[in-house]
Symmetry: C2
Subunit: 336 residues, 2 copies
Amino acid sequence: MSVARPHPDPAGHSIEPLRRLVADDLTAVDRVIVGLLDNPVAMIPKIAGHIVSSGGKRIRPTLTLLVARMFGYHGTRHINLAACIEFIHTATLLHDDVVDGSTLRRGVATANALWGNKPPVLVGDFLLSRAFRLMVRDGSLEVLGILTEASAVIAEGEIRQLAIANDLSVSPDDCMDVLQAKTARLFATASEIGAVVAGEEESTRQAMRDYGLSLGTAFQLVDDVLDYSALQNDLGKTVGDDFREGKITMPVLLAFERGTPEERRFWERTFARVEQRDGDLEHAMTLLARHNTLQATLEEAQRHAMMARDALADLAGNAYRDALLDLVGFCIDRKF
Amino acid sequence: MSVARPHPDPAGHSIEPLRRLVADDLTAVDRVIVGLLDNPVAMIPKIAGHIVSSGGKRIRPTLTLLVARMFGYHGTRHINLAACIEFIHTATLLHDDVVDGSTLRRGVATANALWGNKPPVLVGDFLLSRAFRLMVRDGSLEVLGILTEASAVIAEGEIRQLAIANDLSVSPDDCMDVLQAKTARLFATASEIGAVVAGEEESTRQAMRDYGLSLGTAFQLVDDVLDYSALQNDLGKTVGDDFREGKITMPVLLAFERGTPEERRFWERTFARVEQRDGDLEHAMTLLARHNTLQATLEEAQRHAMMARDALADLAGNAYRDALLDLVGFCIDRKF
């Protein structure tokens, strides 16, 4: 099943040109990450290295680097803090995959699929503890406050996600709240940290938080759509992971809301009771198409993409600002 | 099987008198803990509350409170920081029980036994994130450095523990290193933090770190002995948890070292390959008795207890110092 995009970009978007703009910084971030994983306990570089190097796009650290450079920052704090943000993200992924029982991520076997649940739980804790150590070494209570707050919001978002995992009575607003806590908040923080190290004032920091939050929201909504898109399969990612886990995302919630009594019974069986049979995923995708909910979710993503672009409106133009605008396009237009 | 203790204390030791000495502070710590668990997401107070309130002795926060008071501290920072330390400890327990597949802790069903692995993984993350938030609010980079360092050492210790879980070739020194990283380090930190908030100089802080490290080491060695003690059963804790998990502790390591070739084959089957049959636990306990390794482990615990007492030798005497000495006796003499 292919999904029509509301505003297709004929040129397509790639993240590579933006990454080239901060290529040296990204290399430095990678060096910090690799250095922190270097540990005589073989399990640590093995498992952490597996996820860190398994095709992640490093969007969050790239965000911190681009924002810091956009504001003319020339120090080195953004390097360590970008690594910190990637570590928080990676720790979350490891625990997420354990909790969701996921077997593939970006087309590669997950750590829990390869080594069981125990190592990823502990290596996630290890990464998080290293992230906090990096933060403390940065030496700013203000930055520590921002990052620990983000970490607390993410942790709470993860729990709320689990709490509503099979609950079709959740409202779209609650669903959006969880999405923003789990995903968008770290984008907002990654973006804000760039402005903070550059010494920008509060109104500018707020603009960067707004940009990151909207960008992250659009990113995740597109992710939720892609999970039901056949294209995924070509890229090695499994289609229907969210379906099999009974994870309620916007496209499903809208289809449930718009569904006939019979359709609702289907969603209740497959999501609330997670009783799934052969052909259910295909039927689910038919229902999503019938009610245009992938389309509606993409339109919602577009709305947040617009808000992200708007948040940059008052900033002076330069190559980095252009890159942040392109990043919005990438998050919306990506196929994986 | 009952274990003869090398220096039995006819009076016995109870932790209650020491707790009474800082009763108001402990009540304040509990209030902070309960306040932080108060969350509209029901799973959080349910699961965190289950472990926080399930009979823990609050030894670590008590340590911080006693040390701070011993040095005449009259502020309130020690309250929040003691809560912080208990949160780090509780988060570790939740993840530990998931990793070990434990079903009972202190005679009460573990969170993973009651609700599966998912909630405890995420609630552990939540508690840790709240601990870091508390630390940041305390506002001292020095304290943050000490606590994040401890958290990093614990996380690494957990992984090393898993890495050596079924490895009988581990040396007693390595086994001790892991024990100290996993358990004793947080005792050392809890103790040091009390001296730091009271503004004590480095040599005194070092003495308190030494005290805590030795105390925590003695505590855990006794714990490892108690896991093979029949007394446990009366208290609802299962005997032989470590055995069933193939978790290599000092009593087993010593029995392996001292064992005949046939006995070594038994340990290799039951620990290295974790192939266990009815009667194996009883046979293991016979072997521990034959080589006196529970006794030897208790003597090692006594040695660390002595070091803990020595670390307090140069400090001015007062009721709090006496309590810290009593705490050593309690950790050695406890039956549960």
